[in-house]
Amino acid sequence: MEQFRKLKQWFSEKFQHDSLIYRIVDKTYHWLSSIKYDLTHSSSVKNAKQRRHFAKQVKNAIKIINEQYKDSEYIALYNPTWLGVANSTKGLFTNTVPLEQVFGRLKIRAVAKAIIKANIKTIIFSQIVDGWVDVLKKVKKSNPNVKIKVIWHANNFEVMSDYTWDLNKKVLKLYDEKYIDEFAFVKKSMVEFYNRAGYKARYLTNNVHLDESQMKSNKQTDFNRIQVGVYNANSRELKNVYNQLCAVKLIDGAIADIVPTNEQITKFAKMINLEHTSLPDYIDTKDLLNRCIENDINSYITFTECSPMVPLESFEAGVPCLVGSNNDYFQNSKLKSYVVVEREDDPVYIKDKMIECLKNKEEVMELYKQWKEQYDEDCKRYVKEFIED
């Protein structure tokens, strides 16, 4: 390739760029580059260990498809390393297949071949991961009757991210080219937006069910020692961690449990003299729930969301959770007035909502149970329609 690049450079200097010969050389160079990239793409795969990992996980996904989902109605592919999307997908669908990035043409072909061979009617891609676009195209090209559906777990706020917007444009192009039959969004306003923009889109909403064996909180609130969980709030600006910590500080005697934390959050907590416990790393959902049930209330008051998992997990574990005014939960229920925080950047207001919620904790949990019954039914219906239509 290096020799060819030099050759192309030579042509570039000697010929006009709109000349036929230059255009042929230029096209050939890009064609060869893309073949090389397809075959050996490994910009994210730095070493042999990583290469082995990515090869192994592809093999594992193929094994699951072959052994468990032959002739199935559908499968839903998800990236197990994206925790939110993974939990969301597993919460919505039964036939799930973990699959991370697929690098290189050979691996892409192997995954596509396994899907085609398994004779599955609908393939659901829960968000799009590197390499999946090529898998998707190969499957559809091989069998146009297979339905390809993509769940987009983001709202238009994320257009700010160049990575997300580039991917966004890619999937819209795939829809225009008829590789994708339908989208699903986990936010009603996004479904409406895309329908109006001319794309077939459906609504899904995340759900959480905890096993009966998983511990449920029955903690009695001591108002002199309120414990507040602030979870998964460290990663981005929209997670609004500093206002939430200030709100806890405003409650006399309150203590925060922050997971994960980082150096900046720890310094801030120290600066405002906030008593807190914390862990530096993300922990799995089960461990997080074990911490969660030790709290009186959890706080997940972010600026923008689609269908957040933390509040559902918290409520399912028996602990009320405050959320920002940015999701479709608790509509038409009195519960909304207790747990939806409309002024997310106001610690004084958040503090008042925390206390109000705790003073009415019994009613709040009862309202949640009532709301959740209908929500479960709706979730099932949305999923069924999405798979079958």
Partner: protein, 328 residues
């Protein structure tokens, strides 16, 4: 009022310049203290002011390098009062620059190098005064001598969207998305990133890009031209309604520019101050923003009457809060 002060402001944000120069009479620009040259300009400005026998220096925000200036003034002229108006919010502390200077500001206050911190958000004042910092609450304000409202020229609903910064808190793409939910509308927007144009094109949203002159200010600026709010008002007040549904704000530029000139403005729920008829609770929901726009346009007369009534009292309260801060 004690007129014996100077307020120093920097180039970090257009909003800062607008409010600093319109809320305070005696103001001077200083650069951010990133270079030897900029530090020299700051020192020279401060020395000039001190030689005029001023009794206090107010900084609009604490930017990089200004902490050294404050320590130097306090060391050489302990009789001069130093005050800082906080130009950030808790929500913006995710960014290292904001957090670093916010923490420095609190440290300088703890060490008696800063005599008072003026907060522009009531809840920030409540939190940090409770934590023991010497604090005041200042009511942000803009006023105009005459209205810049222009007569409506067509049937199509003109919506204005004019963020000055391409940052997450401006909630840019959810706000541009409203074009899909309102019939016969055009979004006139401040073109600050090419992705805005691309998004509108891909989603086929009727829009018109604009550029507000003299508002492209680099944080590295060593000197700046004054920003004339009358010019900005001329641009933004040709619309039927403007939107500024930001996730967080410590000053509400477009709101005051619009409402003062008989033009409606919808804002996010990020202040204690404003009429709920113009406030959107779910800033990331373009359907809710669109409904709010329709309601506000339908009720414009009442909203404007209420605003004028509220504003005449608010002007007095704001002036009092500024005087109290200066005289403290």
């Amino acid at each position: 009022m004690n007129e014996n002060y100077v307020l120093l402001y920097g180039p970090k944000k257009v909003e800062d310049i607008i409010f600093a120069t319109n809320m305070f009479k005696h103001t001077r620009f200083i650069p951010i203290g990133w270079t030897k040259n900029s530090k020299e300009i700051i020192n020279k400005t401060v020395e000039e002011e001190i030689s005029n026998n001023i009794s206090q220096i107010i900084f609009w925000g604490l930017e990089d390098g200004w902490d050294y200036t404050i320590e130097k003034i306090k060391k050489e002229h302990p009789e001069i009062k130093i005050k800082v108006i906080c130009n950030t919010s808790n929500s913006l502390l995710y960014y290292e620059y904001e957090r670093r200077n916010f923490v420095k500001m609190l440290d300088l206050s703890t060490n008696d190098k800063i005599d008072d911190i003026g907060f522009l958000r009531k809840n920030m004042y409540d939190v940090y005064s409770k934590l023991g910092y010497k604090s005041s609450y200042i009511l942000e304000n803009l006023q105009f001598k005459e209205s810049h409202k222009k007569a409506k020229t067509g049937e199509i609903l003109q919506i204005g969207f004019y963020p000055f910064n391409y940052t997450w808190d401006k909630n840019i793409y959810n706000q541009l998305s409203i074009g899909k939910f309102l019939k016969d509308c055009v979004i006139n927007y401040n073109f600050i990133d090419k992705k805005m144009e691309e998004f509108l094109k891909v989603m086929n949203i009727n829009s018109q890009k604009e550029t507000i002159e003299n508002t492209e200010i680099l944080p590295t600026a060593q000197e700046i031209q004054p920003i004339d709010i009358n010019n900005i008002a001329d641009t933004v007040c040709k619309n039927d309604i403007n939107i500024a549904c930001d996730f967080t704000d410590y000053v509400h530029t477009l709101y005051f520019l619009s409402m003062e000139n008989d033009t409606l403005c919808i804002i996010g729920n990020n202040s204690e101050l404003f009429d709920e008829g113009l406030v959107v609770n779910s800033e990331d929901n373009p359907i809710e923003i669109s409904k709010k726009i329709e309601e506000a346009v339908a009720n414009k007369e009442t909203i404007m009457q209420n605003y004028k009534k509220w504003k005449s009292e608010y002007n007095i309260a704001s002036e009092e809060s500024i005087n109290k801060f200066i005289n403290k």
